[in-house]
Subunit: 229 residues, 2 copies
DNA sequence: GACATAATTTAGGTTAAACTAATAATATGG
DNA sequence: CCATATTATTAGTTTAACCTAAATTATGTC
């Protein structure tokens, strides 16, 4: 394993590929198709890029079998995830961005900021350990709190749950939920999980009832609630 | 000549070329060499890029004579200058950056932020009309206040002047001056401008005396002071 | 187990933005 | 006003990142 290019800073394309693989597969392996869909890039381009990523020691690619991150690849991905989430936090809490706009801006800025910037931004924000939709923010050392949340669509009737995070992929869902106060931290009681049409009904702390179709219920992630408050 | 690409967003290279021409020549024309030195790029690459910029209607290039910005080119350059200066202001005033670090970070970020970001950042900062070293910030409409300041090296003995801006090109000079409180806004009385060795001596409001060699005196820009305070 | 379908890779381009080396134009100063 | 130095352009490559079309491999179904 040659110690490839000393540390040529990685391009934004490379960064986005690494993040995509991490998001799709975590520690497992992501297929060419999945990556190509997520990045809106032709499959052939993915194959080509995976070759280069492998040469740089960032992924391991088994032909026709998909690619998985090496330790270095994972570190790189988490560095970007950290930046992305800190930037989103800043945009939302200090610049008055809406959910609609935030993700796209962060997707670009994450590649342009330095480590020093990230460090200082974290300080400015008071070293948050999660972003405004509840996703944990990896530490500067690349440690990411394991996630034990599950989508509301997999909850069971009668269960008491707390909203833990809301998927940031769908901006209109975020806005809809935000308006109803269905944000991370909110306590819910699951009233019904109807197999028939995949509708989940919950009651919030104020006694308000909310129904979620499949799409919504699978983008709201919760944790089982035990204990008070 | 097809009606050039509707509005493909300009690359960061292109942006840096436009800014370089603007800085070197303003409304006049910049030579291949000057641009190549400023951007640390081979002269041949500059010639090549000027060709493309001309096709895109951003500059006019006369072979062997240099290039000047078109109206569109100037607008683009000023948009970047606005972003650059707003970003520097933010980094200095809110993230605790030192002069050393600020310029480089802004040089990258200026290409990654959106117009929406710029707009909101300006609000966040209270719509400053100059950055922390006194450079005017172009408005969102691309209007830039004309600059009537001159380098301290061209002041005359006895003159009362106010520090207006400090060149941001030389970080160590900035630090030196900053430590002594010689920042924009400061009022000075010119005591001596010695031709012999190009040393300028001034007295500040607190009665402190400061001497500037050629290098320093030409990176401190002042305006004549009339009136009180 | 053969085949249709879907996923993947290969082959062959393109474009932006650099580079080096060679050549040409301009500027200078004696 | 010409020789020389400086500046600029041309020609030919390189690299990253994408593309399309064609060929190949895997997979799930009858
Ligand atoms: Mn996001
Ligand atoms: Mn990105
Ligand atoms: Mn600057
Ligand atoms: Mn720049």
């Amino acid at each position: 394993m040659r110690d490839s290019t000393p540390t040529a800073p990685l391009s934004s394309s490379i960064g986005d590929y690494l993040k995509a693989i991490w998001t799709i597969a975590g520690t497992g392996s992501a297929s060419t198709k999945e990556i190509s869909v997520r990045l809106s890039v032709a499959p052939a381009s993915v194959t080509n890029m995976l070759g280069r990523l492998q040469e740089q020691g960032l992924v391991v690619h088994e032909r026709y079998r998909g690619a998985s991150l090496t330790e270095r690849g994972r570190e790189e991905a988490l560095r970007l995830v950290r930046r992305h989430r800190l930037i989103e936090t800043f945009l939302l809490e200090h610049l008055g961005y809406s959910w609609e706009e935030v993700h796209e801006e962060a997707e670009r800025l994450e590649h342009a900021v330095s480590d020093a910037f990230t460090q200082r931004l974290a300080e400015f924000l008071g070293h948050p350990d999660q972003d405004p939709h509840g996703e944990p923010i990896p530490t500067a050392e690349g440690v990411l709190e394991p996630d034990v949340s599950f989508p509301l669509s997999e909850a069971q009737a009668g269960q008491r749950v707390r909203i833990f995070k809301v998927s940031d992929e769908d901006a209109s869902a975020l806005d809809y939920l935000g308006e109803r106060g269905l944000v991370p931290g909110r306590l819910l009681t699951v009233r019904e999980v109807r197999e028939l049409d995949s509708v989940t009904t919950v009651e919030d702390e104020g006694g308000e009832s909310h129904s979620f179709g499949e799409a919504l219920a699978s983008s709201v992630f919760v944790r089982e609630h035990t204990g008070q408050t």
